[in-house]
């Protein structure tokens, strides 16, 4: 079995995120919300189109289930439509508000399905592991794209919910530390601490599965 070589520390590493959100689309969010509240029918559709991907991604990465992620995304937007009046654009960004709402639903879902997960058969877990090993054997541990996504997905499930959500919000959804702190309702220092622990734990899990990182 090939050992995993962790590359030398990338001290000159540049942040991967030229942040996807700009002042323009922040304004666009605020305008969309105003139009929705004013009763423009097309604004609701635009809002859903604009944010479905983000909400689905968070739900999918957290639950590791396409069906559950779809249901939860639908629930999130139902809740957005019911509670949009409670959003105040002066008090924060719409993205943060939406992410917090998504996160609250995910936590509720996590608590509700605790018993289901406890009774999840060991065969399912073995199957996922076998698939991951097969992918790694084919690619000699160097992964990218969809295969990397699958392996990351398996690795994320090994993290505790607290660490998992922090890694998802920062590394996959590219939120700022301040925004993550608002979503999780914890200090920024706690966010960074959880992020370090989550990343280190994820590195150990990936290394255990012979992934080159």
């Amino acid at each position: 079995m090939a050992t995993v070589a962790i590359p030398a520390a990338k001290w000159n590493w540049v942040p991967p995120y030229p942040q996807g959100r700009t002042a323009n689309n922040l304004d666009a969010d605020a305008q969309l919300v105003e139009r929705c509240l004013a009763g423009h029918d097309s604004a609701w559709e635009d809002l859903v189109k604009l944010h479905t991907r983000r909400v689905y991604s968070i739900c999918y990465r957290f639950t590791n289930s396409d069906a559950e992620a779809q249901d939860l995304t639908q629930d999130v937007f139902m809740r957005v439509f019911k509670n949009l009046k409670s959003f105040r654009s002066g008090e924060g960004l719409f993205v943060v508000w939406l992410t917090r709402l998504t996160r609250n639903l995910l936590i509720d879902h996590y608590r509700r399905t605790r018993m289901d997960r406890a009774t999840e058969s060991i065969e399912d877990q073995v199957k996922v592991l076998e698939e991951t090993i097969a992918v790694l054997a084919r690619t000699d541990g160097m992964l990218a794209g969809r295969e990397a996504s699958e392996v990351l997905q398996a690795g994320l499930q090994k993290l505790s919910p607290e660490l998992r959500e922090t890694v998802i919000l920062r590394d996959l959804e590219e939120l700022e530390y301040r925004e993550i702190a608002q979503v999780l309702n914890v200090p920024e220092g706690t966010v960074k601490s959880r992020l370090n622990r989550g990343r280190a734990e994820l590195a150990r899990v990936l290394r255990r599965h012979k992934v080159r990182i």
């Binding site: 962790i6 590359p7 030398a8 520390a9 990338k10 001290w11 000159n12 590493w13 540049v14 942040p15 991967p16 029918d41 097309s42 604004a43 609701w44 559709e45 859903v48 189109k49 479905t52 991907r53 689905y56 991604s57 999918y60 990465r61 396409d66 992620a69 779809q70 995304t73 639908q74 937007f77 139902m78 439509f81 019911k82 992964l143 990218a144 794209g145 969809r146 990397a148 996504s149 990351l152 890694v167 590394d171 996959l172 530390y177 220092g189 960074k192 601490s193 992020l195 370090n196 990343r199 280190a200 994820l202 590195a203 150990r204 990936l206 992934v211 990182i213």
Partner: protein, 221 residues
């Protein structure tokens, strides 16, 4: 710089947003601390790995599904009338295709049975709807049904046997009471004395041979 301080600054270091002074202090700590160096390697490695990961794309139908649930882009404000609130639940359930189909098949089955049994429903006339007539008919039917059921149970063999047995016991009791009242008091006294004598004689020791058959009978058992 301590390890705890490094942990707080590590995220910014990996992001490349640290100031030069903090960065040099952090790097000098990393050079002398293997644990922190290992942590920094892991963090940087994972962040670089996640960068290569393909985003999770929602299926195309999800958008349609969400918009379908929210027609015209607005949430459906469902206003339920009092009629729906009262009966909506179970009527809605009854109107499901499987129940409707079941009901239809039941009606069809009964109508076929009635046809083959030559049961023909009588045509309803306006006179049949007179309340007095309806009440008289119901009353008559109820009485008839009650009489019929009583007669049915009376004619059951078991019921007849129980009734005859009870009658026998009652008759016997009455006969005994009548006999006892006819006997004079002196006769009763004699009977009592003779009974006492019999009891005393039976208390005396029985003959030795009397036990043998009993022992033999026990052995046989």
């Amino acid at each position: 710089m301590t390890c705890a301080e490094l942990e707080i600054l590590l995220c910014d270091y990996v992001d490349g947003t640290l100031r030069a002074a903090e960065r040099s202090a952090l790097e000098s700590h990393l050079a002398g601390c293997s644990a922190c160096s290992e942590l920094a390697k892991d963090v940087a490695g994972v962040t670089a790995f996640i960068e290569t990961v393909a985003p999770a794309e929602p299926p195309a139908e999800l958008l349609t599904r969400i918009l379908h649930v929210l027609p015209n882009g607005r949430p459906v404000a469902e206003k339920r009338s009092w009629w729906k609130k009262l009966f909506g639940g179970w009527v809605h359930g009854m109107l499901q295709p499987r129940y409707v189909m079941g009901m239809a098949m039941t009606v069809l089955s009964f109508s076929m049975i009635a046809k083959f049994a030559h049961i023909e429903p009588r045509q309803l006339r306006p006179a049949d709807l007179d309340p007095v007539k309806i009440w008289a008919s119901i009353d008559d039917r109820a009485h008839r049904m009650w009489d019929r059921s009583v007669k049915y149970y009376d004619n059951l063999r078991l019921v007849i046997e129980i009734q005859s047995r009870l009658k026998e016991w009652t008759d016997q009791d009455q006969a005994q009471v009548a006999d006892a009242s006819k006997q004079p008091a002196s006769a009763v006294k004699q009977n009592v004395e003779s009974g006492k004598q019999k009891a005393e004689s039976s208390q005396q020791a029985p003959p030795s041979g009397a036990q043998k058959p009993e022992a033999g009978s026990e052995k046989k058992r």
